[in-house]
Subunit: 285 residues, 2 copies
Amino acid sequence: MNVDNWMIEESFRNTYSMGFKVKAFLHTEQSKYQKIEVVETESVGKLLLLDGKTMVSEKDEFVYHEVVSHIPYMVSRSCKNVLIIGGGDGGVVREFVKHADIQRIDLVEIDERVIEVSKTYFPECTSGLSDKRVRVLPEDGFAFIKRAKKEYDIIVVDSTDPVDFASGLFTDEFYQDVYNALTDEGIMMNQTENPFLDEWGIKNIYSNMRKVFPVVSSFTAPMLIYPGVYWTFGFSSKKFRPTDLDPAKLQTMTGIQRSLKWYNVDWHKGCFSISNFHKTMIGQE
Amino acid sequence: MNVDNWMIEESFRNTYSMGFKVKAFLHTEQSKYQKIEVVETESVGKLLLLDGKTMVSEKDEFVYHEVVSHIPYMVSRSCKNVLIIGGGDGGVVREFVKHADIQRIDLVEIDERVIEVSKTYFPECTSGLSDKRVRVLPEDGFAFIKRAKKEYDIIVVDSTDPVDFASGLFTDEFYQDVYNALTDEGIMMNQTENPFLDEWGIKNIYSNMRKVFPVVSSFTAPMLIYPGVYWTFGFSSKKFRPTDLDPAKLQTMTGIQRSLKWYNVDWHKGCFSISNFHKTMIGQE
């Protein structure tokens, strides 16, 4: 909500808030699916909001986009086809196109307007969309995933919070569809909320992932613009554990990671050694 | 500041805010040094503020207190004497008293009122202060540290932000005094701010620590009540690297860490593998 030129987001039953002072209101529209806003802030640069919830900022977008892409890429053995559900800002695509061995990247974003608005205000995020390996598919992710069978090596569920029409992206039925759409060594990545502010939600998400995937792990990375900042991500896999990196990829990655702002192989190996708090939250022994 | 029953803390030149809805205002006083307040919140339980800045909450205090104590303890080889500068809430002391081989724990807190208020409202934090190995010294930490020579195996600087009278706790002059007060294998731990919101400050802090200590490393842990949540901590050492754990302590720690809410040895080993962003901020190769 907009209060005296501050964008304020309240969470934890509206008892915890974070706010960003606004320098300029750049864009607002009601698309077929949601309210899309872009504001210029003092603290995080341009900020995209969907239905009033913070989605992407210039200042910290690199964190999310690098971790959900390079982690599964480095674990996968043969990574030819990638699917991203949601993620209309294009940031995840931008990271995957850095890997020359990937042949196809499908972006299934239900709301074409998010893509268009991002092209205008976040061109550094959408820069990968023009890569010829990328297909932008303006479809419902739920319907799309049901049709795909053993097609993708990596699927990134780049979703909003588990409320309204995105809540279905956190169910075991959906995870089963993702499982079916993955190859035999496939990996699913998703954002799984803040455990301090959504303890029940996170337990439920991980319980649902475990009903479907034999390997389920979790790590955290900070998202300055998300409520509570301390953000968990899920790594669900049919075969490989998250710290079992593909030896064949290490040398190429050594070169690529010099230009990355967050990801490096050492961090990858360390981030799955999680705290007792984190283990308790996701029900890990 | 208190706005419509919300405690709001603004940072990053007053352009980023976090807020906690207040159920009850429990205590307020002006001590000789600062304004001390305790409020009951919906989201983080009881919350202690000093000069309007969030210090300790019931919900997340375990994170800070466990990481600044058990990490240096596990790296130190002979840990007999511990000094805590600041930390009047007692939470760091509570963690150190869990280790039977520690003989003396000195708590140097300039403001006795913080200790007394904490005893009333945060008894789970102050529970260790009655341990007979603990000396509570109501003194100025700057003066105290200048008198100590090669006396402590671990020194924890449990300070507020680098403003006003606490700013001296982030200078190379102070770090030199800490160095002199440490034994030949001594370790200093300190909180070193949020790199998204205080880039200049954090670069300065780590530069100052490197002027004095041969080993300087950093890790992060979330502090839900601190602005930006993603919090860095410094590990500065005369000899041992932060992941060089004392083999003799591992077995005892296996038992203790079952009852800890955050710390475990695997997390300790992984948390010093930091992101490119974090390395850049602290000037690490």
